[in-house]
Assembly symmetry: C2
């Protein structure tokens, strides 16, 4: 498996584009994106579990009932959520997209991201779609990734190449963060494309299985968005024998999918609103998988630990505290904690109690951009990782005046 | 029922004091407090549910097994938690306190608050106790309240006077916040005293029942502390007939207790680390009490809403979002939301969708120091309130370098 360029256009038969259509006041910021497969593709998606669901998600869910889609349209700048006419607007977006591409509205995945509770004017979207469609290219992944960004500071795309029964396949994705990030059995906006041939049931199985260990293990601020969605389109143009059961090809596909999703998770966490550091909590020695996941997520979600990481302060007591209130039945007296980064590794807690360590070395390790919080529960063999970021002045600044 | 001065010394037979004994480097900051009843008192306490429990809580729990206590000793500057010799140190604190007062160590409630995981040197505590005990007075509540403060900027005390079967009784308390505040079936450090006569069983019942609607409904940062504890001492010196069942006097006592605890909750939330505003989410129209509590707490815990409140931004979509991910089965299409303060009330959402409102008026309302977020679920008669604070630059600053 190797990384390749091209994002959502890396796989055969996919084109993309992103333009400024006029939803945002800033004309230099793209606000409408389109991803299209040249043939109808097998499609799977997972959605937020928030009871307040964006209108686009409800429309997409209906469109994906048959497991087939050919295009993804997404605007930024407005979430089209908690609006009386939200469904109507999302349907109009689908119709305008279908018309511009000459496909059925039922084969369009529609998504929106931005402020909640402000009516979305569909006029600039409908007006912009012909130009958006006309500009579709095999080099359009970056433009599409830019068009879905909100407070993101980095565009997020990745792709890998792998082999199924001798056929070269590719899978790639784009994503946006970067606030209201605390996916729960669902996730933020992620669009993944592949030319692998895979049945709707197996694609759904692959995606659902993957998100529990990837997007559901990311948290920026503990707020589960109303508009989270991950969608995979698989158009089968790689020519591999269709995956219809859990064979070796399925395992390979799962590894490729996981490579893409973990890379996007790290990008989303590292570019969390206001973030200066990517945090990864790696839990080992857990008695069961659920405990490993819960402990990792609890640590990554602690506001106090996140603030300490911003200050490069090795305040490991906050790691123990977050494990203690996680709701798991861990044996505190067996917990070991270390901090690690490119600058080295430093043990700070053994058997639930502090150990002497060099504050200077700890500061050097925690001053890096990517920090690992290593927790060993010494109670079994299960492991899990969760991703987050530090809590900074800029998170407060961004969210103190996001809407106005 | 009327408010009176005196805090934990308002009730008959209680004295208190607070001194600087040398745990903290800053000599102007008191770091050791003592509260004493002139006779043994009925005692009840609730503790954090965090699996990582401070050593003082374990010692206190053992001491209160018989439902009797006469003194409370508490240091700030060090939590005495995650230390190998924590129990030993907490026992030594009890013994030194008992010796200075001429009582049994088993009648001492011991508490600590501050950094986790750094050994607590008991020497300055033992050395300071004779002077601390010698300085006990009926005017000592403020000194005691100061001695338990960590990042608190305001001392927290309150007392009320009420009548039980014709006898005048008083109940008062002191508390400390102000970070790692997200009590779960337990709470932060709160010490309450009363001269009412009440049986151990009924005192425990009153406290346990009260905390579900008071301290458990406060959140500053979502982090449940390892050292949370609420203790009530009732010495019976008011001379009222002992409360031994749920009679009218018990109901009056509950109201008095609740007046004290709600006042302390508001002080703790309003003085949360870095806070500039006190937030109260008042939920009405809930189908059941659990839903009302969960919704109120979910709203008050949202980092995004807290940051918006810091910016006086009426971003009500974040209120809906937090209700949606709270895990309750609410009907989103029935939710109404308003913001209120001393400057007025403004409806912002009706039936789950936005309503037109004056941004100028909303800004004026949200610029006050105490903000109410009014949520009506229109699905029943149950209500609940939760208290929190805004998320500010100073929260990040305080916690980015708390330990160093």
């Amino acid at each position: 498996m190797k990384k390749v360029n091209g994002g959502v256009c890396a796989a055969k038969g996919f084109k993309a584009n992103g333009i400024h259509c006029g939803i945002r006041k800033n004309r230099t910021k793209r606000d409408l994106s389109l991803i299209v497969s040249e043939v109808p593709a097998t499609a799977a998606a997972v959605y937020t579990t928030n009871l307040v669901k964006g209108a686009p998600l409800l429309v997409t869910k209906a469109h994906l009932a048959n497991g087939v889609a050919q295009a993804i349209v997404c605007n930024s700048g407005n979430a089209n959520t908690c609006n009386e006419n939200g469904i109507e607007v999302a349907e109009k977006m689908s119709e305008a997209t279908a018309k511009a591409l000459g496909i059925s509205p039922d084969d369009v995945v529609v998504a929106s991201t931005g402020v909640i509770g402000q009516p979305l004017d569909v006029t600039p979207i409908v007006a912009g779609l012909p130009a958006l469609a006309a500009g579709l290219t095999e080099n359009g992944s970056q433009a599409a990734a830019e068009g879905i960004m909100t407070t993101d500071t980095q565009l997020k795309e990745v792709a890998v190449e792998f082999t199924l029964s001798g056929k070269t396949c590719r899978i790639g994705g784009i994503a946006k963060g970067s606030g209201m990030i605390h996916p729960n059995l669902a996730t933020m906006l992620v669009f993944i494309t592949t030319d692998a041939k895979i049945s709707p049931a197996m694609l759904k199985k692959a995606l659902s299985s993957d998100v529990s260990d990837t997007f559901n293990m990311v948290s920026v601020d503990g707020d589960t968005s109303t508009n989270d969605m991950v969608t995979v389109l698989a158009n089968g143009l790689a020519g591999n024998p269709e995956i219809t059961c859990e064979n070796e090809d399925f395992a390979t596909f799962m590894r490729a999918l996981n490579t893409v999703t973990v890379a996007l998770c790290r990008m989303i966490a590292g570019d969390g609103e206001g973030a200066t550091r990517l945090l990864e909590c790696r839990v080992s020695g857990a008695a069961d998988k659920a405990t490993a996941r819960t402990v990792a997520k609890s640590v990554i979600c602690s506001s106090l630990l996140k603030a300490a990481m911003f200050g490069a302060d090795a305040n490991w007591g906050r790691v123990l505290c977050a494990i203690g209130y996680s709701g798991t039945a861990v044996d505190v007296s067996k917990i070991d904690v270390s901090f690690a980064s490119a600058a080295g590794t430093i043990p700070v807690c053994r058997n639930g109690c502090g150990v002497d360590f060099s504050e200077e070395k700890a500061k050097a390790i925690l001053s890096e951009k990517e920090i690992e919080i290593l927790v060993c529960l010494n109670s079994g063999d299960e492991t899990s990782s969760a991703w987050g970021c530090d809590l900074t002045y800029d998170y407060v600044k961004i969210n103190g005046d996001y809407r106005t």
